[in-house]
Point group: C2
Chain length 441, copies 2
Amino acid sequence: MKTSDRKPRVVIVGAGFGGLRLARELRRAPVEVRLIDRNNFHTFQPLLYQVATAGLEPEDIAHAVRGIFQKQKNFQFRLGAVVGVDRAAKTVRLADGEALPYDYLVLAAGASTNYFGAEGAETYGFPLKSLTDAVRLRNHIIRQFEAADRDPSLIEAGALTFVVVGGGPTGVETAGALLELFEKVFAKDYPHLPVEKARVMLVEAAPDLLGGFHEASKRHARETLDKRGVEVITGAPVVRVTPEAVRLADGTAIPARTLVWAAGVRAAPLADALGFEQTTAGRIVVAPDLSVPGRPEVFVIGDLAGSRDEAGNLHPQLAPVALAGARHVARQIRRRMTGAPPEPFRYRDRGIMATIGRHAAVAEFGGLRTQGFLAWVMWLFLHLVMLIGFRNRLNVLVNWAWNYFTYDRGARLILEVPPEPPHGGAAPRQRSGVRPASRIS
Amino acid sequence: MKTSDRKPRVVIVGAGFGGLRLARELRRAPVEVRLIDRNNFHTFQPLLYQVATAGLEPEDIAHAVRGIFQKQKNFQFRLGAVVGVDRAAKTVRLADGEALPYDYLVLAAGASTNYFGAEGAETYGFPLKSLTDAVRLRNHIIRQFEAADRDPSLIEAGALTFVVVGGGPTGVETAGALLELFEKVFAKDYPHLPVEKARVMLVEAAPDLLGGFHEASKRHARETLDKRGVEVITGAPVVRVTPEAVRLADGTAIPARTLVWAAGVRAAPLADALGFEQTTAGRIVVAPDLSVPGRPEVFVIGDLAGSRDEAGNLHPQLAPVALAGARHVARQIRRRMTGAPPEPFRYRDRGIMATIGRHAAVAEFGGLRTQGFLAWVMWLFLHLVMLIGFRNRLNVLVNWAWNYFTYDRGARLILEVPPEPPHGGAAPRQRSGVRPASRIS
């Protein structure tokens, strides 16, 4: 603890892919690492849709941050929500009033949902960005089937119509998984219900699904979804959402009580509170080395960073970019401490992939392109490797594979947990007022 | 569906041990079974304390009711809260206004927490009767450590003092598990916190722990808890609870922000709403065959039933009694349909056991008594067999054993899920008003 007076303090905001990797990369650097997140766990976001569709349990894709860093001596975790940065004092301000000093600050707070101004979407749509979002959606989906089971007339009213908005990988994956849940599980769970009347619709504003993918991948995704029974509607922006219907730009109204909003992301709200220059969808403008222009001690990585490739295009908001950014910034901090000049961040695109459901996916790696079963196995393998890397236990593999292959699983619970302990004794109340920075470490 | 007009309808209220077993026992009986529960899952209550102390994941001890009965043709599940019974019309009234007709009604709604009038206990104490209770308590415990980690002065104020009230098996098990969580997991998770200052206190109003157990078992439990560091206080009723302290009858005030209330149970609130005669702690008075006196078509089983042994003592409120009651009532219903006279319910006590923590338990079977490691292995084995029987999948064994033996687990998440979908489209709103009974089936 004594040495913390000497060593530069690196404060990282966000325990997503970027934040976690950066903290880990700095494990042997002569710095003190402080990682802040509003949750005490890391969420493996690429598989949130599996939790929402009852394929995986919440604990399968989340891991306590403290558990990951138990053996890293120069690491400390801080549970809290960052509300601002005092650039003059070089402190990060937390919602509970505390001010955390930093020598280097790395913003890795990720992205939130972008509703593109669709009326009612934020109020009535279900986003899919957090573990809470996923469990809430799971609860809601099951409730619709329970409601229809006791009153089948609700089916006409849209109780079993599930509209997924957004034809990117998340939307495609969610639509495919919903249909499988209904056909493989709910058809048996609700023998008295005409489950075949359940509809899954995938609505996309652009003319195509999977924008950014190769023409052949797009076609394969669409054909696969068609064949499996997902109703795909493209070129159809959603303009209005109510609890009972989804209205498209052409005036069509779809009676539906569930709208999954997977149409896009924007920078985490924190980005708007900092006063840094922003670019498309709130991303923070960064210098080539990922630092904030004029603020060499502040870096931005991952979905929050408005970093660009050589052609001037914004990097995609994907986990690999965040991981590469983390490695880069770890290296820049080390260089900075030895007086070496900054290096520009370069992201080498390793490819993109999306799963369409069981035994179907598309994948593109440089010139290579594959689809169908092989692509699906690759997707499965890559996600398992990543997931196990984070959870660091073989057990997940067993559990995951079992759940995924057998559909014999316990995850379809309607589980509700009140957000605040309604009964006192709670920690995060007024108790912790502003206190001297020296108390933090 | 047509035959449902002919076959007697057995409505079972509650998907606990008794309700589930009864539904299953009736699978070949010429009846239609309707099982009602406010949750869509069965909770394996004996292991709730494991979820609260992050040893197991919620999904490990819960299973979707519909999944359990997928293959039972004469079974239907209804999600809902029973608020009353119309004895003249022979219908069960649900919170959403629907009235479910029955020919036989079996009340198996279980027990709720008994606060014995201790001031503030219901408001500030944490009960441990439902999965939500368990996750809420888990969230709260982790929050206390997070709060103390950022401000160690809170330790003096009771942030790391955990008072378990109730010296029965649940209290003993919870106290033991808390201490293990702190010593084996949190000591590593919070390297900057003096975790050894965390206190676990077990407070019991009676002079002894484990009332009902043999003198030697009581002694062993107390000695084991002492040795492991649980502070046991007996003969000390709790009279007042605030968010910051627990006050005992002798005036002692313990600064503590967490009170786990495991001091006792009373019949589920439903029992008070029915107008049937009640006995100790709200249990419904029953005839020797477990039917309600004067209401031969209404049965009560499990914790809700005020059934008695030959000596006139109330049966203990334990899972084995509920399971035996379920088998008995299934048989009585079958007999009733053939005109056979009712038989009295007899419960053969198979013994009692309680675990005190890793490698320590007490068990008593008739004249046989054992304690320590052997008793613990028996406890583990029995609970695994029961749990697997309900979940019906080997995977749980792997998961459970792995979690329990290695403590390398992902369950220590602060996971919150708002109780009602705040965004519309929700099912259980006003939508479903009262509708004709014929619509139900």
